[in-house]
Symmetry: C3
Subunit: 349 residues, 3 copies
């Protein structure tokens, strides 16, 4: 008596409809153990996520989970329901961090389908979801939109009415929350003398350092977040895939690039919002990640704190000081891995 | 002045006698750090070992150490005294989990020799031990029997009177303890709608997903448990061994196979007893583990909770949907890694 | 508008002057997560750093951070300011551990330049620094001297007056602090019956076991300590370097060699002082570390506790029972990785 139906087949394009709400499984309690592992896997050195004393002096409730770490956890929960049969992870938008996640907090995750559009080939479609993370008190800690290309189960199934959500290009600075009072910020301990006032719109920053990613490392990090997408773990199954090997979870690229960005942006460690993001090309084990940033905008948030809108670009196996990005036709240069647009809090002088 | 005698030479077959009690070294305090690492190394997603809130709502005292994690720790302590000179780890039986291990608890380990039998070649013998784990209050948290083939120190040493212990083929369901009141179990958060009532004896479940194991990963996991068996760590020393390379600790296989079993058995995350287990063939770095399960038996434990007796079979580099196991002559099929028989708690409808 | 100047270029030889004090960035709170990770990365089994119950019974305040772990963290903080442009890490001296570091403590780090000497080639110079680690109460937890060879920025820059500090060859036993009352030390749980009284000056101990280090492992460990030296992480950048590949952080070698030394020195787990140390040759991923120790001296510290002065020698890919060290001309034998001289506390009989 054989049965396969008790395992999760994932959702296909036909399974999604606008307005559908999905409660994701495996709520996760984040602890000091997760903080140590996130540091060990990414090289995170931002002072407010490294030292409890620094964090408190900088107006935070204590040593919080890095918002980007919490983002990977919330994202990971959504994978079995949203992207198990995904062909591609197309983009992020309107990501907002509302409340700090403290060690001991438990994250629950829910997604709502907000858009759906079949592709003209009739084989795949795009699904937009808003995924929201809640803590154990039911408070919303974060929310973001992502869209993925998902396989249809049967090409002959009817084509749904397309619904394409209207997404903001950028989270308005006026809506940024969760930035602390930064008047007691210690620049020496944070590792940089550069404040909000020192950065200019249009300025590019070379983050210099590189980090090579091994198979063991991305697998450990991805399991830490309970992201279960098969392409990251199954070397045997991937042998016959398009690339012939395991793909590294894009969140690994974001977190390592952000950790590299410490070198040049050490005071801008707190992510306040994700405006946009796309994984331009895949990363494989043995590749080395480098990163550069561009200041896209600036906004005053309070007397002590400003926000930088930053484009974080990750490249592989090349000097980030070349600032590789797009050509005039909008085509990404070779070796660009990630194009990520976000707001970060930074102290004023 | 050179001296080697202060290092541990391990015990040989002649060193064991029935009734001998061995207090194992390096008691270990397990913390939230261990919980995070166990998740990151194995992919553990069972909700009661992932979320403190879920655990409490499901009748447990909080976020406990996964019993299988605690098993590896207790097992690991016994290695320097029991299996440092072992040729093979032959089997497990009569494993019982009595009390939850909470973060902050310290595990102490003692083994008693309960059987001994020299092999006819005169070079090796089999030793049966019952290993028991205690917490810092002296309470027994678990107990299991394992037997190993151990080298004799001198072939000419006398052959002891054989004592072969009478071991139960299965832990009787009536003796299973530690299962919580599962009336408030949340299926959506746990990740599966299938309860005790939905599983049938004889049913086989394909767990679908695969996980490739790297050298770094099994070494980190095995050190986490303080298991020191040389074959897992010493590539230089293993070059001239039978396989020419490092062997992966069998506990790594059990834990990864169990984590894969989430996909199809998400509500059956709490191991209550180990009935039997054997490591059918060795796993090496780069191999991909898949798993399938068979329901061997069912037992009602309370109004809210039942037990499934499950056979967990791990295979390597092949589709687990083929349900590879044994041929008619009882010989295991190629690629079978693990044959593991256990009881798990599962909510009733 | 491109700018690289906001990233840290590191200090060159010309940037250092005697008396200069440098406050290092990224204070780090150490937690139970760090303890679990340190165990998982190094194989640490010393009972007082494994079990909270054992530690308390052995006169310690609880489960502390292994002093060697704290040393790597304090060292790591100093890297961006002291050794980012270093050619070689030449040695350690006068390392003292004053206070235990408990989970929850935050380490801050300051270095003072105490010596400076240009090399005759005019291209490099030696810089001596005393690095001190403080906890969140401002108490000094450790202090050590290290010296590094650093590149000059411009060969034509003037040569400073040389200042070579007077360093003790050994930390005097009378100045060792922090050793607990060891009267209730449990030898069975610690894993060895050998006390202070059983070790003789001149005795050599073969630690037998080997541990192979993978790229993922040394990268994870080095990030755990927030040590950012590029040579450990950047495979792409290292392709054109002298060795053509990543170098493993020397602290990884010290910690693994010390963990291997458990087998023969299980009761001597608490490091009290670092007398001297040098990294004799580099370790690369795939190499296997073995270790042996020599008792250099003994000192009575109290009625219950003595100290062993130990030379810890790490070798690679060879039998540590050969006790490879130096030839008559003082030249190290092939395969010697580490020559490390320290004091450890050990119970008296």
């Amino acid at each position: 008596m054989a049965s396969v139906q008790k395992s999760n087949p994932g959702n296909y394009f036909e399974d999604f409809h606008v307005g559908m709400e999905i409660i994701h499984a495996t709520p996760q309690t984040l602890t000091e153990g997760d903080v140590a592992l996130y540091r060990a896997m990414t090289g995170n050195r931002f002072a407010q996520y490294s030292s409890a004393e620094f964090a408190k002096a900088a107006g935070m409730p204590g040593l919080c989970i890095d918002p980007l770490h919490a983002f990977h956890v919330v994202f990971g929960k959504s994978v079995p329901d949203i992207s198990l049969n995904a062909v591609a992870n197309l983009g992020y938008a309107d990501g907002r961090f509302f409340l700090p996640v403290m060690p001991g907090d438990t994250l629950n995750t829910v997604s709502e389908v907000i858009g759906i559009k079949e592709n003209s080939n009739g084989k795949t479609g795009v699904v937009w979801v808003r995924t929201t993370g809640f803590n154990q008190r039911g408070e919303t800690v974060m929310s973001f939109v992502r869209w993925v290309m998902v396989n249809k189960f049967e090409m002959d199934n009817p084509t749904p009415e397309p619904v394409v959500p209207d997404l903001p290009e950028v989270v308005p600075a006026i809506e940024l929350v969760g930035h602390p009072d930064m008047k007691a910020w210690d620049m020496a301990l944070a590792g940089s003398p550069y404040t909000f006032d020192d950065y200019a719109v249009g300025e590019k920053i070379n983050h210099v350092d590189g980090m090579t990613v091994e198979e063991a490392e991305h697998q450990i990090a991805t399991r830490l977040y309970q992201n279960t997408a098969k392409v990251h773990f199954d070397a045997h199954g991937q042998k016959d895939s398009r690339f012939g090997k395991r793909l590294i979870y894009g969140g690994v690229v974001i977190s390592i690039a952000r950790s590299l960005a410490f070198n040049g942006l050490a005071n801008a460690g707190q992510m306040l919002a994700i405006n946009a993001g796309s994984h331009v090309s895949p990363l494989f084990a043995g590749d080395t990640i480098y990163a550069w940033s561009e200041v896209l905008d600036k906004a005053e948030l309070s007397d002590t704190c400003g926000a930088l809108r930053l484009r974080l670009v990750a490249v592989k196996d090349q000097d980030p000081g070349a600032f590789a990005y797009k050509d005039d036709a909008g085509k990404y240069a070779a070796g660009v891995l990630l194009d990520f647009d976000y707001w970060a809090a930074i102290p004023k002088r």
